[in-house]
């Protein structure tokens, strides 16, 4: 005790200090620690809520991204499918058009050949007719010359009558 008194510490001081500390603790606890703790808790809660919201947003975003990606994939697939169908259809159309063109070409070729053959026949026919006409004209000319010989014509009449007499049709 005496040692404590030598150091300036006695019971009253201790009590005084304890009361002081108690008052200080009470005041600090009442006006500083509690509001501070409350604010920190609120802040902590706010941050947690924000973090949760951010996490929810991240999840929503990922879900939306996944949905969009799936949609895009579906669209791509549909587009590819449509493109394939269009390409196939275009190829079919092209094949059909080619076949039609080939058919028309063959028809045109056949018609042209037919026309050429017809023209050739007509030309030949014209030449033959012309040739026959010329032959007939020459023969008629010769006969005209012969006609001037009365005896020959008279004789031809006699011969003709002789032939007619012998004909079974007479």
């Amino acid at each position: 005790m005496e040692a404590l008194q030598k150091l300036g510490i006695d019971g009253a001081s201790i009590l005084f200090y304890l009361v002081n500390y108690g008052v200080l603790f009470f005041i600090l606890n009442k006006f500083v620690i509690r509001p501070l703790t409350k604010t920190m808790d609120e802040r902590s809660n706010q941050i947690r809520t924000n973090l949760q919201e951010a996490e929810q947003l991240r999840i929503d975003f990922q879900t939306e991204m996944a949905r969009k990606t799936a949609e895009a994939s579906d669209r791509d697939q549909q587009l590819n499918h449509d493109l394939t169908a269009i390409r196939e259809n275009a190829e079919k159309q092209a094949q059909h058009l080619l076949k039609e063109a080939e058919k028309q070409r063959e028809q045109l070729l056949a018609k042209t050949n037919e026309d050429i053959a017809g023209m050739k026949d007509r030309l030949l026919s014209d030449i033959e007719r012309d040739l026959l006409g010329r032959i007939e004209s020459i023969v008629r000319h010769v006969l005209d010359e012969t006609r001037t010989d009365e005896k020959t014509v008279q004789s031809s009449v006699k011969n003709a009558w002789d032939k007619l007499k012998q004909s079974s049709k007479l």
Binding site: E128, L132, I135, E136, V139, R140, L143, D144, T146, R147, E150, T152, V153, Q154, S156, V157, K158, N159, A160, W161, K163, L164, K165, S167, K169, L170
Partner: protein, 156 residues
């Protein structure tokens, strides 16, 4: 009105006797005057009936062709005569002509014969009988020949 007997007699006379007379009479007959022609016809119809003598007076004038046509029309009024046309490139000789007429009248009795000369036949002669043609002319032969050549060309 002419009785059927007279019609038949006239038809026979026209298609047989007068037909041969007209086709065998001398060419000078057609050039002679009506009076001379009358005399020739009187001589020809001396032994025939009055109806025939009257009918023959229709033939006092006209060329051979006119008389032949008239004869055919007249014969058609009394019966159904056939028409036989002889077409030759030149006038046949009298002997030849008479031979033809007699042969044809024998073969086709009651057919009215008409002779025609057609130089465009070039040579030979042909006969038309009721739509049938017997052609022995040069022109016809040429035509047949040309037709035959044409047919052969078309077949080949």
């Amino acid at each position: 009105m002419i009785s059927q007997r007279v019609r038949d007699e006239l038809f026979t006379f026209l298609t047989e006797d007068f037909n041969i007379f007209l086709n065998t009479v001398d060419a000078s007959f057609f050039a002679s005057s009506p009076r001379r022609r009358q005399q020739a016809l009187d001589l020809f119809t001396e032994k025939h009936s009055t109806a025939i003598k009257i009918t023959v007076k229709l033939f006092i004038t006209g060329s051979y062709h006119e008389l032949s046509t008239r004869l055919y029309r007249l014969a058609k009024a009394f019966g159904k005569p056939k028409l036989l046309i002889i077409q030759s490139a030149a006038t046949p000789s009298t002997e030849q002509r008479d031979g033809m007429i007699h042969a044809l009248t024998e073969k086709y009795p009651k057919a009215i014969i008409q002779q025609r000369v057609s130089p465009e036949l070039y040579g030979g002669m042909r006969l038309f009988l009721d739509g049938t043609l017997l052609d022995e002319t040069w022109n016809g032969t040429l035509g047949k020949l040309m037709q035959s050549i044409q047919q052969r060309l078309y077949v080949s």
